[in-house]
Amino acid sequence: MATATRIPPEVLARYEPVIGLEVHVQLLTASKIFCGCSTSFGAPPNSNVCPVCLGLPGALPVLNRKAVEFAALAALALGCQVRETSSFARKNYFYPDLPKGYQISQYDQPLAEHGAIEITSGEGRKKVGITRLHLEEDAGKSLHDGFAESATSTCLDLNRAGTPLAEIVSEPEISSPDEAFEYLTRLKEIILFTGVSDCNMEEGSLRCDANVSVRRKGAKEFGAKVEVKNVNSFRFIREALAYEIERQVEALESGEKVVQETRLYHAAEGKTFSMRSKEQAHDYRYFPDPDLQPLVVDAAWQAEIRKQLPELPEALRARLVAQYGITEYDAGVLSASRSLAQQFEAAARSAKNPKRVANLVQSELMGRLKARDLSIEQSPITMRGVAMSADLAEAGTISSKMLKDLYDHAFATGEDFAAVYEREKPQQLSDASAIEKVIEDVMAANPQQVEQYRAGKTTVKAFFVGQVMKATKGQANPAMVNELLDKKLAG
């Protein structure tokens, strides 16, 4: 970070940052929030538009029920109370990508309130309150480059105008850039689990603005609030906040005032720049949208939505640890997405011994992934492959040594376990007479060790096991080797 050491830590330590986050999440409905147009990403400019989302005269909004359900599902997953009656308001401002000259949003009666996300912070676990979750429509996009007329004009693509968004506003209860990062990570994880958004920051389906102020530790009053916009990754949020906190502390330390304003983050420079001050701030002139009836999500509808609520990451992790005896770390990896956890559990359930699946994931898969810096989604061996290997090992068809070899092979070629196994099919040597023959050869070659064993030093048996396995290139059935060795060595 550009400014990490600008201010002595003991000075910084005298101040307490107060951070609140506003996250916009695009909901994965097939059609827009107030019209029937498709929400698909990447369509030719201005092809997914109609009189409603173009803001033509006389066009009227009709609320998409699915958008309400998705937003309510997210709200419930975040522990919010969904209001029985909420309402839509107009947020009035002029901007070329805003077709009606107002955005339909929710203001004094949001869809849901009073939620919380539990995060891990330096001192342990901590709850960050969620003030509200409300529905609103997205604006279009101004395109400044890439067109014949770009030198003199800005082009507009209104495909995105009217895409449903859920805005999730946190309480100002985040105390550090790291906590902000953690809050966003947990929030994204929960939303992904509900399946109502893909939270793809590159495509803009998750956007975040941060409000940050600093105050002397122990002070009751909040400092002047700065809104940081235009941050397009969680990492950059952390950096932008760190920069902004130092900037504000520096200002206060040198006797200046922090100006209440909106600032833009420039990731390349690692700095924030003033965009507009409070005096220039918009007066959005919110008022209830007379084109829309109050939104009623009654108890019956809420119950229906609640039924779609999946097991959430926290609960899932606790259960994986309890049920499969895996570590919390591995439970965390396996719950990276809902589908991965589902695959794992399906694999575990389908295997003869679920614990063995969990053990293999932990002992064989994770290490290899880590060594190659792969995420579990990138693993060549799928959960189905792990289940297959577990069953083969359970049946004694392959030894643990063979299993390791097959895993190495799969990681080397990028194939799943089944493909590697089908090709290599290392048959275990389970023919008793063949194994006996090998044992006899080994005993003949090592008469001294045979003597020792027969004199009562039975620990040399391990030596013979090793020699037999070596002679069979590891393919001899270990159980049979043990049994036959006992018989032969006893004489």
Binding site: G58, L60, V62, N92, F287
Partner: protein, 478 residues
């Protein structure tokens, strides 16, 4: 064929019986429109009307029954969208706007056989009470061309009155159907809020705007309403309430109906001729067997300020989309975005529209919202309760439609407050959501039409139409 006396029914019957063809009627009316000296029409290319007329004539040739509004030539107020037919809202800002879709009401009329003759003149964005705010010139009152036709649906009223249309659609936000109907001596019906879809109506004040028929008789109003009323999935504020058979309803007797006369509507400012005429009409209603009782709507005096706070607030937001970005008028050679917005809107909008946008912006501004917008919403609730209380006792309320008959062109143009007071008896109905109808009830000593206004409960258009129809017949011709 005398186009000045045709009604919905007589038009259909005449075409059915081959007294004249729909095409001949369209051609005759088109010729009249070309000669029209009241400037009731803004856009009237014959193609769409002739195509529909040909389709109706084809049906008539086959001899089968014609659709209910077959061949009825209708004028569409220029704030109501017509696909491919220029729609300006009486504003320069939409000078060259050709809508890609039809308003629901227009589509339904055509589906019932009606013929869209063209677009009628109106006050810009329906803001006005005299039709003097049209960017395309004033409309003259067919009864006295030195006088206003009323507004904002002045073109629609004049077209029905001067025989260039059999019926017209108007829109009513504070009296814009009823007041010009009264000034032009025709019937104007403002349906209940939510009765007729607003989809395709260029919004002025969304919580007050209604589309309604302007006709030569109450029965015609009922027949038109029949086809434009009803649920529309494209308008969330359009109620899913069954549509009664209005033609059957108006035939029912009115004897025994309780009719209220609110004292607040007969106070200071009411012209003597209008008072006498409305009182005579009330007596006629009494003679029909209705029980006429005095009532009070105590918050009436707050209606005008309440209306101008709420209507302008909504308008300031509804008109934000006319920014020169996507369609409509855009100033050339602007250097910056702000300059483009500012000059486009400055030159695109007329004076009254700008006045209302500024008023509305002001009442919604931080620090003023509670004192104006919120307070006006509370008064609106009180005004609604006035009507609720009255309708607990009576079935209908009769009042004058306007304090005076048509005033002179230019008379109030420089005095907005006096102009706003022309809506004093009509805005209450918009604020309360109830339906109302203006029915001609006589003339002033100088021969200007006077309109009786009747209110009924929300969605009780049957009672409204029944009483209006009974009165109209009892009254007889002037």
């Amino acid at each position: 064929m005398d186009p000045t006396v045709l009604t919905v029914e007589s038009t259909r019957v005449a075409i059915q019986e081959k007294q004249f063809s729909a095409t001949a009627l369209v051609e005759a009316l088109h010729a009249r429109i070309e000669r029209d000296d009241t400037h009731a029409w803004l856009t009237h290319p014959p193609e769409r009307a002739l195509a529909q007329a040909a389709a109706i004539d084809k049906l008539a040739d086959k001899g089968g029954p014609l659709p209910p509004l077959a061949g009825v030539p209708i004028g569409i107020k220029d704030v109501i969208l017509t696909r491919g037919l220029r729609t300006t809202a009486g504003s320069k800002v939409l000078q060259h706007f050709f809508p890609p879709y039809d308003a629901t009401a227009v589509a339904r009329l055509e589906a019932a056989g009606a013929i869209v003759m063209g677009k009628t003149n109106c006050d810009e964005f329906a803001m006005g009470s005299s039709n003097e705010n049209s960017a395309y010139g004033v409309v003259k009152n067919p009864h006295d061309k030195a006088r206003v036709p009323g507004g904002s649906s002045g073109g629609s009223a004049a077209a029905v009155a001067n025989g260039t249309a059999v019926a017209a659609l108007g829109s009513d936000t504070g009296g814009s159907i009823r007041q010009p109907a009264a000034f032009c001596g025709i019937v104007g019906l403002m349906p209940s809020y939510g009765r007729v879809s607003r989809y395709g109506l260029i919004a002025f004040a969304s919580s007050l705007d209604r589309i309604g028929p302007m006709t030569r008789s109450v029965k015609d109003a009922a027949l038109i309403l029949q086809h434009i009323a009803g649920h529309d999935p494209l308008d969330s504020t359009c109620a899913n309430v069954p549509v009664p058979d209005y033609a059957a309803e108006i035939g029912k007797p009115v004897k025994g109906l309780k009719v209220g006369v609110p004292k607040e509507y007969f106070a200071e400012g009411l012209d003597d001729d209008v008072r006498a005429s409305v009182e005579a009409a009330t007596e006629k209603i009494h003679q029909l067997g209705c029980e006429v009782v005095p009532i009070s709507l105590p918050h009436t005096k707050y209606a005008i300020p309440t209306y101008y706070v709420l209507a302008t607030a909504e308008a300031s937001s509804n008109l934000a989309r006319y920014d020169g970005v996507r369609y409509g008028f855009r100033i050339k050679d602007a250097k910056t975005l702000t300059e483009m917005y500012r000059r486009t809107r400055d030159e695109g909008f007329g004076y009254e529209v700008k006045r209302r946008i500024m008023l509305g912006t002001y009442v919604l501004s931080a620090g003023y919202y509670d004192a104006y917008y919120l307070k006006a919403q509370r008064v609106r609730t009180l005004l609604s309760r006035d009507f609720d209380a009255a309708f607990a006792k009576v079935d209908a309320i009769v009042t004058p439609t306007t304090p005076t008959a048509a005033f002179k062109l230019g008379e109030k143009a420089e005095n907005p407050l006096a102009m706003y007071l022309a809506d004093i008896y009509t805005v209450t109905g918009n604020l309360a959501g109830v339906p109302a109808i203006a029915v001609p009830c006589g003339k002033t000593k100088t021969g200007l039409p006077i309109g009786l206004q009747i209110f009924a409960r929300r969605f009780d258009e049957p009672t409204l139409l029944r009483l209006g129809h009974a009165y109209e017949h009892a009254r007889g011709a002037f």
